[in-house]
């Protein structure tokens, strides 16, 4: 086996590399958002750092704090032939641009009978656990996954982040690309060359026989740690990183749960009406009679993200929560 050349990079660097490679390959790829150009620091955490220096201020354009105008400019430029990577700094800030995202980006292809498409990537970061309080931390992916016309991607590690970003930029439709702040800064050994990873394909990172744990974004890292804990007790976990939740990889998830007969779904967003509910409903529909235990869903309690550290840690699904849920399916 030939060794794959790797290097240690973070999700921040991985996304930066993906956008840079896409811009180098296609002059129609452009970037806009608040503070994205190097004059403004190349993004508040540096995801787009260096790109304006490399590709010019016309292709990497800092904007005012103007989310509706950012999304409108992205949509119009996309209809005008560009592939646009638009940064809406924080996921909560999408709320002030929802008309552009939901009524326009998502619907124009359908409403125009296929005449106008909107190839944009809408990047954003989010996540509790960094003391940002109630308006800078929400995982709102279920809103977007509930909107026909959008695709929704939530990577958990640098390699996936890079490969998924390459696909998202190439995709002819609008893609919501959610980056978890807690996962940003941890370096991982990552192949130097990453091929585009198809949207809608989950990754089975560990084969197992007793219970399937399904997750995505940073909570998937907690699921991985939980699987290691469970192994100590002789419990064999099959681990699935969904990576994309719209479209989601029904085939992979159904095949796995058909094998194990048990499923735990874990995400950071509030549990009520969350992504876990859609997956659980699909599994009971497809596998009624073959399940060995009720499907367990884990998510945040139905409350706002709190500021106080003690409350904030209690808000986020923990490794122990996942271990306990998995064990409960085997009880």
């Amino acid at each position: 086996m030939s060794a794959i050349e790797t290097k240690k990079i973070t999700i921040i660097q991985a996304i930066n590399e993906a956008i840079s490679e896409a811009m180098a390959a296609d002059p129609k790829v452009i970037v806009l958002g608040e503070d994205v150009a190097d004059r403004e620091g190349g993004g508040v955490v540096g995801v787009t750092r260096g790109l304006s220096t490399k590709y010019g201020d016309e292709r990497v354009r800092s904007t005012p704090i103007t989310e509706q105008a950012i999304m409108g400019a992205a949509i119009g430029a996309a209809i005008g032939g560009y592939k646009v990577v638009a940064e809406i700094m924080l996921m909560n800030f999408t709320t002030v641009a929802m008309d552009m995202i939901v009524n326009h980006a998502a619907k124009l292809r359908f409403m125009s009978g296929g005449q106008t498409g909107v190839p944009i990537v809408i990047r954003m970061m989010t996540g509790a656990g960094i003391s940002s309080g109630g308006q800078h931390s929400d995982f709102l992916e279920a809103w977007f996954a509930h909107t026909p016309g959008l695709k929704v991607v939530l990577p958990s590690n640098p390699e996936d982040a890079k490969g998924l970003m390459l696909s998202a930029i190439a995709d002819p439709d609008p893609v919501i690309f959610v980056e978890c702040t807690r996962a940003y800064f941890t370096p991982y050994e990552t192949p130097v060359n990453v091929a585009p990873i198809p949207l809608g394909k989950a990754k089975v990172t560990q084969q197992g026989t007793d219970v399937t744990i399904i997750s995505y974004s940073e909570i998937f890292l907690r699921a991985t740690a939980a699987a290691a804990e469970l192994a100590k007790d002789g419990i064999s976990v099959e681990l699935i990183d969904l990576r994309t939740i719209s479209p989601w990889d029904r085939e992979t998830v159904i095949a796995s749960v058909k094998k194990t007969g048990r499923a735990v779904i874990a995400h950071e967003a509030v549990k009520q009406f969350g992504v876990g509910a859609e997956i659980a409903a699909t599994l009971q529909d497809e596998l009624f009679g073959q399940l060995k235990a009720p499907i367990k869903r884990l998510g945040a309690p139905f409350t706002s993200v709190p500021f106080s550290g003690v409350l904030e840690q209690a808000f986020i699904v923990s490794v122990a929560d996942i271990v306990a849920a998995a064990k409960s399916t085997l009880a």
Partner: protein, 336 residues
Amino acid sequence: MATTSFATGANAAQPDAATQIEIYRRMNLIMQNDEASRKIIRSGRLMMPYYSQRGQEVIPSAISVNLNDDDKICTIYRGIHDMLAKGVPLRALWAEIAGKVTGTCKGKGGPMHITHPASGAILTTGIVGSSMPIANGLAWAAKLDKTRQVTIANFGDGASNIGAFHESLNLASLWKLPVIFVCQNNRFAEHTRYENGTSVDQISKRAAGYGMPGITVDGNDPYEMYAVANEAINRARDGEGPTLIEAMTFRFFGHVFGDDDFYMTKEEKSAAMAADPVPLYRAKLIANGVATEETLAALETDIAAQIADAIEFALASAPPPLEELTRDVYAEQGVA
């Protein structure tokens, strides 16, 4: 009425005779098409939400004669006049209004979402204010492509009070985008009278807050409308950035078809209708020797025939097949 310097009098751009007649042709097309639309709804042959443009014929007609096919427009639900003036073909337009597969959008958009990129008609939005942010993006693409294309963003007076207006004007001015913001001020935002919803007496004054030229014009005067549009469009083509044009007009048939107009006085409505810009301009063309009665009558007869043909085409066309329900949600056909 200008709030910044625009060419006036002899310095203002004048449409030549052929252009004057073309403006009239577009106005008459819009007028007859609107009359046919209201008639067919009343007859019960077609059902649709319909926002009459009757009374606002001059604005898109006098603007669009300054545009090329590859220039873009974005408009709103009261926008069929904008679409017709830009050249959206009648058969496809009527088939779309009728919800037929031969429509511009295969019957999936309807009268509030007419789209026909081949004519430069990129967007009709049903959301007040949302034509403007997207028009900016089209203008940005044209600027990046180093073309001389311009984009027209149409909207109403009510839209000047929504956030998208302010964000769009700021960004367009900051980036010197080749976009022209055309506020068709028909004096009512749905049922709300202008002065009860807008904090300034002229929307054009808001341009100053964004560092761009703004002007209020008589949007029912084809010559004034033509001259100001010509200047703003040329400025945009030359890379000198956006303009806000407030075109004063009046809608004869309320907000939406069936609206009983309780919020306006009979006197102001009848005064506006007595100043109907279409017959006034027609009389002026004849009086000035630009066109003869026979020429204009022939043109009108021809338009009537085209509309009748388009309606028959639309009514005879098939509805979209059921697979269209989930097609075009994504580029890959049929993705549920």
